[in-house]
């Protein structure tokens, strides 16, 4: 029964998020609304961790699996993917290096300005 309730709570939050998405004037994804909503419910104490923990652990631990069908769907776009393969690889490689560098340097700078991490930055 405990798992069933957790299931209900999480799917209920997702349902409410979908309603909120349809009411919002901007394309804010329902799944992200769900994330914010669930965080707010936990932070305000309306929900306790034990109301969602096991089910959440199950979903988080198997997160990658739930994407399998979306990946398989790429087989319907083989032509498009094939024609853009080189740009795709270059873009993925270049942005990975750029994003890592930009994030790391901005945090180093922030920590230095905060006067923390002196000596080991």
């Amino acid at each position: 029964m405990k798992l069933l309730c957790q299931f209900g709570v999480i799917f209920g939050v997702c349902w409410v998020s979908q309603i909120l998405e349809s009411l919002l004037p901007v394309p804010f994804p329902a799944s992200v609304i769900g994330m914010v909503l669930l965080f707010a419910l936990l932070a305000t104490g309306v929900l306790k961790l034990e109301h969602v923990r096991e089910k959440a652990d199950f979903l988080l631990a198997n997160m990658a699996f739930f994407f399998l069908p979306a990946g398989v769907n790429a087989m319907n776009y083989f032509d498009l993917l094939g024609s853009a393969l080189v740009p795709l690889l270059v873009i993925c490689l270049a942005t990975t290096v750029l994003v890592f560098g930009a994030t790391a340097l901005s945090i180093k700078l922030t920590l230095r300005l905060m006067g923390r991490g002196k000596g080991h930055v």
Binding site: I10, V13, C14, Q18, F28, P29, A30, S31, V32, G34, M35, V36, L37, L38, L42, L49, V52, K55, L59, L60, N62, M63, A64, F65, F66, F67, L68, P69, A70, G71, V72, N73, A74, M75, Y77, L80, L81, P87, L88, V90, I91, C92, L93, A94, T95, T96, V97, L98, V99, F100, G101, A102, T103, A104, S106, I107, K108, T110, L111, V121
Partner: protein, 226 residues
């Protein structure tokens, strides 16, 4: 054969089996390239093509699995909430890093897509590719992208990020575990986070936090920029 596969159970069973093989393969080889999701997708597509099974048959089960994406994304909140102390203590570097990382990611993807002359649908599919898959897919969809292209780009980015992470840490001389963890999470989301966990607990926790915060920041920027 074709009436046998015309059932939602077929798609679910095949997906779980393919993913399970992927998990085993990664454990055995220890290679980041043997990402379970990547292996699972390749095996499933291979099976469908080899036995000439219609995609529509597979998708009866596939769409059931898809249903769990939104709840799984929402549960990132639970992961963030369980590290709320870390978030409170380091909110400024986390915020600065994730905002800069997300902006640079979207900016550089946009610039490179223009450079390669990719069309709007392709650009929208790639734009959110540094954030975790469910958020990336929602953002791509909302702006006219093709979700499955986004999934491919997100997985590729994640694998590249976790392979390159140790190298990048040396290249940019990142000695602080907070900076290292956040940078890995910002550029290679959940796949990178498993690598960050190998580097240390702080790195792992920070990388996990970056997934949620970067996702949120990317959604907000995509609303403003697009």
């Amino acid at each position: 054969m074709s009436e046998w596969t015309n059932s939602p159970f077929f798609g679910v069973a095949v997906s779980v089996a393919a993913f399970w093989i992927g998990v085993k393969l990664q454990k055995k080889t220890g290679l980041v390239v043997c990402n379970p999701l990547l292996v699972g997708v390749i095996l499933t597509v291979g099976l469908l093509l080899a036995l000439d099974i219609p995609y529509e048959h597979y998708d009866q089960g596939g769409s059931l699995i898809n249903l769990f994406l939104s709840p799984a994304t929402a549960c990132l909140a639970v992961a963030i909430y369980s590290k709320v102390q870390l978030l409170k203590e380091n909110w400024l570097p986390i915020l600065v890093g994730c905002v800069v990382g997300s902006l640079v990611s979207m900016g550089s993807v946009l610039g490179l897509c223009r450079l390669f002359g990719l069309d709007e649908a392709m650009t929208a599919s790639l734009l959110p590719k540094s954030v975790t898959t469910p958020i990336a897919v929602s953002v791509a969809q909302a702006h006219g992208g093709i979700p499955s292209i986004t999934v491919v780009a997100v997985i590729l980015t994640g694998i590249l990020g976790s392979i390159l992470a140790p190298l990048l840490i040396r290249l940019f001389r990142v000695k602080d575990p907070i900076a290292a963890g956040l940078s890995i999470g910002a550029c290679s989301h959940a796949v990178g986070t498993s690598k960050a966990l190998e580097l240390g607990e702080t790195e792992g926790a920070m990388s996990g936090l970056a997934i949620g915060v970067c996702g949120l920041v990317t959604v907000i920027f995509s609303l403003v920029l697009l």
